[in-house]
Symmetry: C2
């Protein structure tokens, strides 16, 4: 298994593009319209936001995925087309226009939108931009596409991995976006993953759901689960491997590669949380069950008090214990150890539920790094889980105090 | 029913005091030790944090309340005595010392602590301060006591109400603290309520639990439920009214007065949330059940994105819909209306799930007031609930980025 370039257009038969059409301000002409396209039919799997308020493109994409097949994905940024007048009408127009430009049917396309809620979509700009975006499709288009799906993100989130399966080279590519409104409860952002691996629809959907549960559902930025979250996985089978069978060695090999792609994207999103300066992970070890470990770890990376302490490089481990304590998981508080780890060192701060003396100067150094691990060790079993988040900073407040202007 | 002065020492037979003993820095000698005392036996009821990690004083107070009786409460601020070495030993010493100073038994006292977690309590300072605090007990002592229980709070939270019951004047007094680590899940802060109303223990406990569910459990500052939350209600019966019977007119009258005291304290805590500039309330109307209305309203006032929008005076109602959508309550998104109300006016921003055109200048004015109501109206029934919170500001990040220094 190795990391390669090319992102979402790296797998055989896939192309991508990103253009500026005018949904975002035309001042600096940032990309705001992306297409991901396969030159042949794909089996496709999706997971969507669990928010009761779902944007129109989510409803449309779910409908188009009913038959389990797609040819491509059309995405705009700058407007979420959620709770907006003519929402479904405009989402439908997007699918129709990209179908027209590719001489396919609207049902061959998934549609996704991200940006402000409640404002009518500038459908004229999108309709005018679609032929340009289709025209621009290329094997080198993933970088442009990864730009075109961003909102408040500061970095693109693109990856590709290749591996050998059954004597064939199989490739997986992905792009994602997400910075605010990020909280573990399904997709929680946009992520589009392509592969040329031959794989049946039910196997693909199971794999997607299982991996999302352990990656995207374990990140948080601000506790807000968006109306537009959507993760799609398209497989066109062009690698010509024998279709994967659950439980086989090839299946496990591909699962691991796909897991790595998702974990990478999840960490990139957490790292790029709005205003974030640090990637914070919390790993709970030696728990009775993985569910308990996950609840505790999620609670820690979600805590505003832990997040502000990390911003201040303050080894305030009491807040970690407090967050574990209200996670909903039952445990013995007298059997919990806590450490902070970064490339600069390790600080053990709590043993058996009681504070340890520690070197405050070293703690400050450890907690000033840009990646910090919080290790919580129970004495109740052998299960573990990791969740990811970021610090809570002045810039989060700044970015969100005036998002619409 | 009328509001009077005197706080927690207003009811007949109660005195209070607050002194500086040295748990807080001796630089500006802020009060850090409080006593609330009744000159005769009280029936007492308590509600406590649901956090699995409970501070030592919580465990001790629960034990001392097992017989349903108390004579007084001893509180220190500056150190939470949670996850701290010798926690239970030091909490026990506090009760012993105040018993010695009053010639009563340790079981006659509740003990509470608030402040930093995981640091050994300065028990010498507290033991030295207790005789002074007992000496200082007076009918005018509530203001000093209300100061002595604060941590990052910027205002004291003191109230007293008197009412006529059965031809007698009955008085209720209260002091509270709470600013960070505030989230609806029981007590969520310290609050001590005294009354001279004659009332049996089971009636008192039912009344406390019922009212806390509708007041303190409906506020949030930062989603963190503390290890030390505790609300105690003491009644010494000195008003000489006939003991209250559930369902009677007097019961209802007293319940209403007590509810007002708790709602006042809850709103004061939300208003004084760490770094807060505005009190935000969310009322959900016309819901199918009160539980659904409460879940939705809690979700809105807990949302970091709603809280930062309120900080920025930004009528970003999409975030309100988004928060209602992930509240866990099921509803039809196409039947939801949203308005913002303040003393400066009313702005209707969403009808039937779709954005309305509104005057942005007026919206900015409405959302620049210090008290803002978010009204969410469903079309599903006749039930309603209100929850309270505050905006999320630079100062919250500042206060919590470096709390321990």
């Amino acid at each position: 298994m190795k990391q390669i370039t090319g992102g979402v257009s790296a797998p055989i038969g896939f192309t991508a593009s990103g253009v500026h059409c005018g949904v975002k301000s035309s001042e600096n002409k940032k990309n705001d319209l992306a297409v991901i396209f396969s030159d042949c039919d794909c089996v496709a799997a999706g997971v969507y936001t669990k928010n009761q308020v779902k944007a129109a493109p989510i409803h449309l994409t779910q409908k188009h995925l009913e038959d389990g097949h797609l040819r491509g994905i059309l995405v705009n940024s700058g407007n979420a087309n959620a709770c907006a007048p003519q929402g479904m009408e405009n989402a439908t127009k997007m699918a129709q226009k990209v179908a027209e430009a590719t001489q396919l049917s609207p049902e061959d396309f998934a549609v996704a939108s991200t940006g402000v809620i409640g404002v009518t979509l500038n459908i004229d700009a999108i309709e005018a931009g679609i032929p340009n975006a289709v025209q621009a499709l290329s094997k080198d288009g993933s970088a442009d596409a990864s730009q075109a799906i961003l909102t408040t993100d500061t970095i693109t989130k693109e990856i590709a991995i290749s591996l050998e399966l059954d004597g064939k080279t199989v490739t997986i590519g992905a792009i994602a976006k997400g910075s605010g409104m990020i909280h573990p409860n399904m997709g929680t952002m946009l992520c589009f993953v392509t592969t040329d691996c031959a794989i049946d629809k039910p196997v693909l959907q199971n794999m997607l759901s299982s991996i999302v549960a352990k990656t995207f559902n374990r990140i948080t930025v601000d506790g807000d689960c968006s109306t537009n979250d959507c993760c799609l996985l398209l497989s066109n089978g062009k690698a010509n491997n024998s279709p994967l069978v659950e439980g086989s060695k090839d299946y496990d090999h591909f699962y691991e590669a796909l897991y790595n792609v998702f974990e990478y994207e999840a960490k990139q999103i957490a790292r790029d949380g709005e205003g974030a300066g640090r990637l914070i992970s919390c790993t709970v070890l030696n728990a009775e069950t993985e569910e308990k470990a996950e609840s505790m770890a999620k609670s820690v990376v979600s805590s505003s008090l832990v997040k502000t302490a990390m911003f201040g490089s303050d080894a305030n481990w009491g807040r970690v214990l407090c967050a574990v304590g209200y996670s909903g998981a039952t445990f013995n508080p007298e059997e919990i150890d806590v450490s902070f780890i970064s490339p600069s060192g390790t600080i053990r701060v709590c043993q058996d539920g009681i504070g340890l003396d520690f070197d405050e100067t070293l703690a400050k150094t450890v907690l000033s790094d840009t990646e910090i691990e919080i290790i919580v060790s129970m004495k109740e079993g052998t299960e573990k889980a990791t969740c990811w988040g970021c610090d809570l900073t002045y810039d989060y407040v700044k970015i969100n105090g005036d998002y619409r202007s």
